[in-house]
């Protein structure tokens, strides 16, 4: 058990920047969990007297054009960010994993399904999400679903690739020749081997979901305007950019930090899991 922990932590300890990513994520999770205790103001309450006040002791990150406290809105925004990230990863995995495995194990079905995935990949991510929003209507759940479908395609590709390789591996063929059923092969041989690549993929999807969801918010087609998401904060304040630049700095930095940290963590995990990358890593450090 301890050695497992060391195995996972090693890339983070070896590269301090990855550790930084991990810490940022921890802070965001804490902010999301304890938002009501951390935030000094109600993120929704208006204060017309304190409109557009700059950062100061009263309002740490300043206030917006309604006099709402930016710091509190940023803290509550962490909840949205986590929800969107987890939701999108959830959608991508729940649909992506079965589609990928079935396509790999049953080539006839796979031919059709993978062609469909290819076609979906021809649509630019945001355009596909926008199209789905048009059909489903605006809202947080629909934004999650729409972005989730976008990253479904890459997830299916990865699962399909790994499963196909595993299917041809000796141990799976051996299991088949011993009369193991499809379900047994999936649970005993394929799923365990999917954990690592999917973990890496999940952290990247989580990162890109932040950017896509923020774009939707910015275009006014994501979360409803009253929801204190980071994207909405930017969308509402863009006309005040010259008068109150702080309104854009803090929520924007949060999006960048979250995506950046997730990319760092994903990179570190991939270095650990992909033996090819691990070699370069070792030689780069010692050579």
């Amino acid at each position: 058990m301890r050695s497992t922990l060391v195995f996972w932590l090693k890339p983070f300890l070896a590269r301090r920047i990855s550790l930084f990513g991990l810490c940022v994520l921890a802070v965001i999770v804490l902010a999301a969990l304890f938002a009501p205790w951390i935030a000094p103001y109600d993120p929704l309450s208006y204060d017309p007297i304190a409109r557009l006040s700059p950062p100061g002791p009263e309002h740490l990150f300043g206030t917006d054009h309604y006099g709402r406290d930016t710091f509190s809105r940023v803290v509550y925004g962490a909840r949205l960010a986590l929800m969107i990230g987890l939701g999108v990863v959830g959608v991508a995995l729940t649909f992506g994993v079965p589609i990928g495995i079935v396509s790999a194990l049953f080539p006839r079905v796979g031919l059709v399904l993978m062609r469909g995935v290819d076609v979906l990949m021809a649509f630019p991510a945001l355009l596909l999400a926008l199209g789905l929003i048009v059909i489903l209507g605006r809202g947080i759940e629909n934004a999650i679903l729409a972005v989730g479908v976008v990253y479904l395609t890459t997830t299916v590709r990865i699962v399909y690739g790994v499963s196909l390789k595993l299917r041809e591996e000796v141990f799976v063929e051996a299991a088949v020749s011993l009369g193991a059923g499809a379900l047994r092969i999936i649970f005993r041989h394929i799923l365990p081997n999917l954990v690592s690549p999917l973990l890496v993929q999940a952290s990247f999807v989580f990162a890109f979901a932040q950017l896509q969801a923020a774009s939707l918010d910015f275009l006014g087609l994501g979360a409803p305007p009253e929801i204190p998401s980071w994207g909405n904060a930017l969308s509402e304040s863009r006309i005040y950019i010259t008068r109150a630049p702080w309104l854009l700095i803090f929520p924007g930095m949060m999006i960048v930090l979250t995506a950046f940290s997730l990319n760092l963590v994903g990179d570190a995990l991939r270095d650990r899991l992909d033996p090819r990358f691990r070699d370069t890593f070792a030689s780069g450090k010692k050579g």
Binding site: I17, R115, G116, D118, V119, L120, M121, A122, F123, P124, A125, L126, L127, L130, G131, I133, V134, I135, G137, A207, L211, A214, S215, F218, L219, G220, L221, G231, L234, R238, I241, T242, P245, L248, G252, I255, V256, A259, F260, N263, L264, D267, R276, T280, G284, K285, G287
Partner: protein, 315 residues
Amino acid sequence: MLTYLAKRLAALLPTLLIASFIVFIFIHLIPGDPIYVLLGDQATPEQVEALRREMGLDQPILVQYALWLGRVVQGDFGTSIFFDAPVLSVILDGAETSVLLASITMVWIVVFGVPIGIISATRQGTWVDQFFSGGAMFFASVPTFWLGLYLILVFAAGLGWMPSSGYPSIFEEGGLANLRYLVLPSLALAAPNAALIVRLTRASMLDVAREDYVRTALAKGISPNRVVLKHVFRNALLAVVSAFGFTFVALVSEAVVTETVFSLPGIGRLVVQSILRRDYPVIQGVMLVIVMLYLCINLLVDLAYRWLDPRVRLT
């Protein structure tokens, strides 16, 4: 070569059919009667009746699709509710801006992305590599619109070097000098995509550097710098070139946001405005155009790949 092209085009056909079917079905998935989806609420009974006949709404869905496809092939993409003009001409109005924006962005991506990737790979593990790799990851994590807003704040509102928004055509007064309107948008749009190309170039350079033939080249006594350019880079380029289809998709995606931030009269902003105006025929038309463009670009990438890789060329 020609037979190959023909074969590739034939292989594209099913993808094109499925993609266009998805685009076609889009209108029918929008809640409400497709007739009113396509005509808007102010449609007259005559218009409704005319369109109902044209679309063959009483026929099976596949027949409707065939009818629609027939019209599309003839260049009839429907009529914009908002502009009350053919969708194709509405899209073409935005084409100049979007095509120029994409082209300039591609130049930035190639000019910055590829060399920085090469430098990063050749200095693997040094502070130069860490700086560029870290920078690439940072820019891959920055929302395009946010970067765009700050470019406007600094270079347009602050320093006054560049115009902050809009784009008059190069065929109007000002001529080619109007391209300066596209400098900031193209930089904002290039940043995340160039970042991905940096990472990709670096990774594939390092991959190729492990190949046996690189060792052979070094054993010949060729200097490492020359080996990097002549042997490593030429092979690494294959992976980079094949990623350009994907880059195009990412570019289009972010162009939607960038054009909105900089108020450029392009196709991307047209999509967003059409969604807000419920001008569904335009959305449908843009989707179709983009998918076809993507397939064309993938074809070009394929041809470039064949030209670069003799192993593929002769099979």
